[in-house]
Amino acid sequence: MNELDTLYQELILEHYKHPRNREPLEGDFITHENPSCGDSLRLKIEWEGSDRIKRIVFDGHGCAISIASASIMTELLSGETVQNAERICTKAIAFLRGESKASTDAGDSSDSRHSGDPVDLGDLQALAGVRLFPLRVKCATLAWHGIEKELKAQGEVDRP
């Protein structure tokens, strides 16, 4: 595989062309941006009870990497408890930054603190190629940093 195809794996282009859980979001949402790239995302969390994410919806525009990553993020986190979602976020960001090797790595400290199941990053593994392109890492992490912030912010107010 050439370098370009390592970055734009078929699965990534497929998520980019047909993003999951992307719907127009009107109204009062925080915009998460990479101003230098013009990537811009809005996120909405739909809750199931007070502790479980029913679904995440996103809207916005950006490059293939940022859109595919957002699409995968909504798939991975929908249905998860907040605690699990936060663990997955930490894992995902470390993975995209190249700080952890494979997505099923067990050994790092953030995992041993929560004695949950090993995290499976699913389709996100197809984004491993961004590590070869340091300038693109922030495209891939945008949705993840965004949802991390939203989860934290919503943890501080009462959830419906």
Partner: protein
């Protein structure tokens, strides 16, 4: 990729497959420039204006010769009008700082254009915020040009400074500086010219252009990074209050008073970039050895060719339709984000810039958040445009 006309560019020679189309960001350097810098350090390095030993004299001479070279290159009246800076950005910050403090009162108006680079907006914005001036934007017309009628309708007798780019770094528009200068001078204001995209691309003569101030960067005209020029008419420089304080810019310093040196030294605080000035002078020799009229003619031809080729690509939006334009093309391909496109082009050894090009107000006006820009230099040919066009067609298929 370059022809013999241009002399040797070691980086391009080492990368024969590379199509370098990011010249508006920075150009590659000819070996004569690289040699001049090395030679300076090998033969003449010492601090300038400070000591009497022979080496210091040699260094000072190299620096002052470079200043005279710049004056000749841009048609300045004297080398006293040449202030060395770090680049266009520092020159514009200097002028914004010192001009407003010298000539403006609170409530006065500064006009910049919708096609300005952030470095010609933000320094004036900062001054306006801090000191109570009004900043107004001269809008572009649908072709990406500036119309004097629009300036007229913005005008009031509080307008003191008009600042604009000679050539837009996004639209490629070449602005009619001398007619704008007459308009501005008839109404008693100053014209500040951001010449970052023009000084190295053909004849560039400040007395013909008629502006009061001009700023440009060495690295965009085949010279080194970290050196640039602020040119202003001598009587303006004489009037201006200083920008930075430090060595060389002063006359006498006591515990209770400071008096300032004459221009240009008043505006050159601290040890200057001598290597940069020497390299810039070498770049100017290089450009003149090719003949700037010829460079201009060839770039005009490349601009026409590029517009024709790129306009024929389906789903491609080319921004700016100015009649007078530089070989600099900013565009988007529908359905492909500019970063993905630039990444794809890189895989075909074509170097272009993607992003907002430090011109967010303009991009917003164009209805784009980002775009790709291909900008040509002296070593580029029609073949490079053909290769770009081919790769763009490929990219369309890849991402759709």
């Amino acid at each position: 990729m370059y022809t013999l006309k241009t002399g040797k560019f070691p980086l391009l020679e080492a990368n024969p497959n590379l199509v370098y189309l990011d010249n508006a960001s920075t150009t590659q350097k000819p070996d004569s420039v690289i040699r001049a810098i090395t030679e300076y350090y090998q033969t003449s390095n010492a601090n300038v204006h400070r000591s009497v030993y022979r080496l210091a004299e040699a260094s000072t001479r190299a620096f002052e010769d470079a200043r005279s070279r710049v004056a000749r290159f841009i048609g300045a009246f004297s080398s006293k009008e040449i202030v060395f800076t770090r680049g266009t950005t520092e020159a514009l910050n200097l002028i914004a700082h010192s001009m407003v403090r010298t000539f403006l009162d609170p409530g006065d108006v500064i006009i910049v254009t919708q096609m300005d680079h952030h470095s010609n907006i933000v320094p004036f914005w900062l001054a306006a915020q801090e000191r109570g001036y009004h900043l107004r934007f001269w809008p572009i017309n649908p072709n990406g040009e500036l119309d004097l009628e629009d300036l007229e309708s913005l005008w009031s007798d509080r307008v003191k400074i008009v600042a604009l780019p000679h050539v837009s770094n996004v639209l490629g528009t070449v602005n009619p500086v001398s007619s704008i200068a007459s308009f501005v001078h008839d109404r008693g204001a100053f014209l500040v010219l951001d010449a970052a995209q023009s000084a190295g691309h053909g004849p560039f003569d400040v007395s013909q252009l008629g502006c009061d101030v001009a700023a440009f960067s060495g690295h965009k005209m085949y010279g080194p990074m970290g050196i640039g020029v602020l040119w202003a008419k001598e009587e303006i420089l004489r009037a201006l209050v200083p920008f930075q304080g430090g060595g060389e810019m002063i006359d006498t310093v006591t515990e209770t008073s400071v008096t300032f040196n004459d221009p240009p030294y008043r505006f050159e605080a601290g040890t200057p970039n001598v290597e940069g000035a020497v390299g810039l002078a070498a770049a100017m020799d290089f450009l003149d050895s090719i003949d700037r009229k010829r460079i201009f003619a060839e770039e005009e031809e490349l601009a026409r060719y590029g517009v024709r080729i790129l306009s024929s690509i389906p789903d491609l939006t080319l921004y700016g339709k100015a009649a007078e334009r530089a070989p600099l093309f900013t565009f988007n391909l529908e359905g492909v984000h500019s970063h993905d496109l630039a990444q794809f082009l890189d895989s075909r050894y074509i170097a272009v810039r993607s992003g907002h090009h430090c011109a967010q107000p303009l991009l917003r006006r164009l209805g784009a958040s980002t775009a790709v820009r291909a900008s040509l230099g002296i070593y580029n040919t029609k073949k490079d445009i053909d290769r770009l066009a081919l790769a763009l067609e490929e990219a369309r298929r890849y991402f759709r």
